[in-house]
């Protein structure tokens, strides 16, 4: 037998990190830094998990990043059918921030490869970070 259809779709509360999502539309990537203790956060967050201050500043992530790890997803999950033959998730370090993104270069990245970050929308309309080799 089959169960009744059950659709789960959530509304995402992003008002406290709106700057981040606006930044992506402007080609900028932001993290946050706690003004009280200096802890930095990427992905950005409005509260400091270490000293409990809610006074954080927005800091642009820039410059050249270094790839720390990656994978090529060959079997996309539900919701990523648009990605067809797959996509390459990569984590790169940009100074105090480590950033996740999709690798846009030819073939696969390498650990240690230098990349720069761009922003863009995927085919489903979601804004994200892309990496291209420098």
């Amino acid at each position: 037998m089959e169960s009744r259809t059950f659709i789960l779709k959530h509304v995402l509360p992003v008002s406290r990190v709106e700057r981040y999502w606006k930044g992506l539309e402007e080609g900028k990537i932001y993290g946050t830094r706690c003004k009280s203790c200096g802890a930095s956060f990427y992905p950005p967050q409005a509260d400091c998990s270490f000293c409990y201050s809610s006074d954080v500043e927005w800091v642009e992530v820039g410059g050249e990043g270094v790839v720390e790890c990656f994978t090529r997803i060959q079997r996309p999950p539900q919701g990523f059918e648009f990605a067809g033959s797959g996509y390459t998730i990569t984590v790169a370090r940009f100074g105090e921030f480590k950033v996740m993104g999709w690798f846009k270069g030819e073939g696969l990245p390498k650990v240690g490869m230098r990349v720069k970050a761009e922003t863009g929308r995927d085919e489903s309309g979601v804004w994200k970070v892309y990496f291209v080799p420098t």
Partner: protein, 387 residues
């Protein structure tokens, strides 16, 4: 006052379209109750561990608890992703240790094949921080470990062949375990010829999507004496830890900090300073082959970066330094999330009671370990058992 395991049970793992979640839990619970030699009424608290979502029963603890005859005694429902089973054992253990009850049962159960693979991947991919990982980048559970594998390979020279050797060993063990999901051996060539699921992990590097249940009955030392149980397996070490939800916030991708921290906590409690010399068997978290290689290192079976060599040299096989995943591991025995941690207890208890048949290890210390990870080091649990 010590706490001991007095009864264990485990269902047949695999694609179990023949049973509901409560029915598969019943298989494990019945075996555990018979094994313990207690009556259902002796059990004062039931803990139901299930990660959930992939089964049609979204609030499953009460249906499972009722079906197993424990209505009115619990259930306490716990969830810790793939380490749910260990969290259930801990809840039972700590309730007894605190003196609240004398006998408790940990039931780990999971039905994962009631949804299709793409849906299952979408649930597992939400195992970190949804908004920043799955929503934006479509992370999957194989992908999380594949990222660690890419770093491990780059830094330590670990090879796809070494990872495949973990799969070959665990399939070889599962072939002799009638409860395993896959009861067949595979060759290195077959493993290396399988397609990539999430580069650099191939299909044969991945544990299957399995249904299954396991149960463990724990009791206080006082109650064990009172009941006249003559083969208790004592819990002598407990350790737990966790790490960031966001993978991008990890310091390092060459290992799991949660394993290091949890194992050191458990070793300290159990008085272990040389795990290879003081343990006879280990059931470790090999949801992917790279996970077992990292576990050798993070549990202190070998130095960091030497996990690939450890499997190559047979260190984790029967007759090696320490037999690991003697019942086939998550890789080949199967990985029904909620059941896994409890099924590890089942394995180590059977080994320490010398009831493992053709999979029996040689016992010198009569001490074994379980190592259960939730997510990609998002949760880490280690238990040490001894007789």
């Amino acid at each position: 006052m010590r706490v001991g395991v007095i009864g264990v049970g485990c269902s047949k793992f695999g694609v179990r379209r023949d049973v509901t979640l409560q029915e598969i839990a019943f298989e494990a619970v019945k075996e555990a109750v018979v094994d313990a030699g207690v009556s259902r009424e002796d059990i004062e608290l039931s803990v139901v561990g299930t990660a959930g979502t992939r089964s049609y029963e979204l609030m499953p603890a009460v249906p499972v608890n009722e079906y197993c005859g424990f209505a009115g005694r619990g259930p306490l429902r716990v969830e810790a992703a793939c380490a749910t089973g260990s969290a259930a054992v801990y809840a039972a253990y700590s309730s007894i240790k605190a003196g609240l009850v004398d006998v408790a049962i940990a039931i780990g159960c999971e039905k994962m094949t009631e949804v299709d693979t793409a849906t299952s991947l979408a649930v597992g991919g939400r195992g970190g921080s949804y908004l920043w990982e799955f929503h934006q980048y479509g992370t999957t559970f194989p992908g999380h470990y594949a990222m660690h594998a890419s770093a491990h390979m780059a830094r330590y020279g670990t090879t796809e062949k070494q990872m495949a050797m973990v799969a070959v060993k665990n399939h070889r063990n599962a072939a002799r375990n009638p409860k395993a999901h896959f009861q067949k051996e595979i060759t290195l060539e077959e493993a290396l010829a399988s397609s990539y699921v999430a580069y650099p992990l191939r299909l044969f590097d991945c544990s299957p999507i399995s249904d299954g249940a396991a149960a463990a009955i724990l009791a206080s030392e006082k109650k064990i004496k009172e009941l006249g149980v003559d083969n208790p397996v004592w819990i002598s070490g407990v350790g737990y830890s966790s790490d960031t939800a966001n993978l991008s916030r990890r310091k390092d991708y060459g290992g799991l900090m949660a394993t290091v921290a949890a194992s050191r906590m458990a070793y300290k409690m159990a008085g272990i300073d040389n795990p290879l010399k003081q343990l006879d068997v280990a059931s470790v978290h090999d949801c992917f082959t790279i996970a077992e290689i990292m576990a050798y290192e993070d549990l202190g079976f070998c130095r960091k970066g030497e996990g690939g060599r450890f499997i190559e040299d047979g260190g984790s096989d029967f007759g090696g330094h320490i037999p690991v995943n003697t019942f086939g591991g998550l890789k080949a025995k199967g990985h029904p999330l909620g059941a896994t941690g409890v099924a590890m207890v089942y394995e180590v208890v059977k080994q320490l009671r010398e009831e493992a048949g053709s999979l029996q290890v040689d016992l010198k210390n009569y001490r074994g370990l379980t190592h259960n990870i939730g997510g990609t080091g998002h949760f880490g649990w280690v238990f040490v058992f001894e007789v």
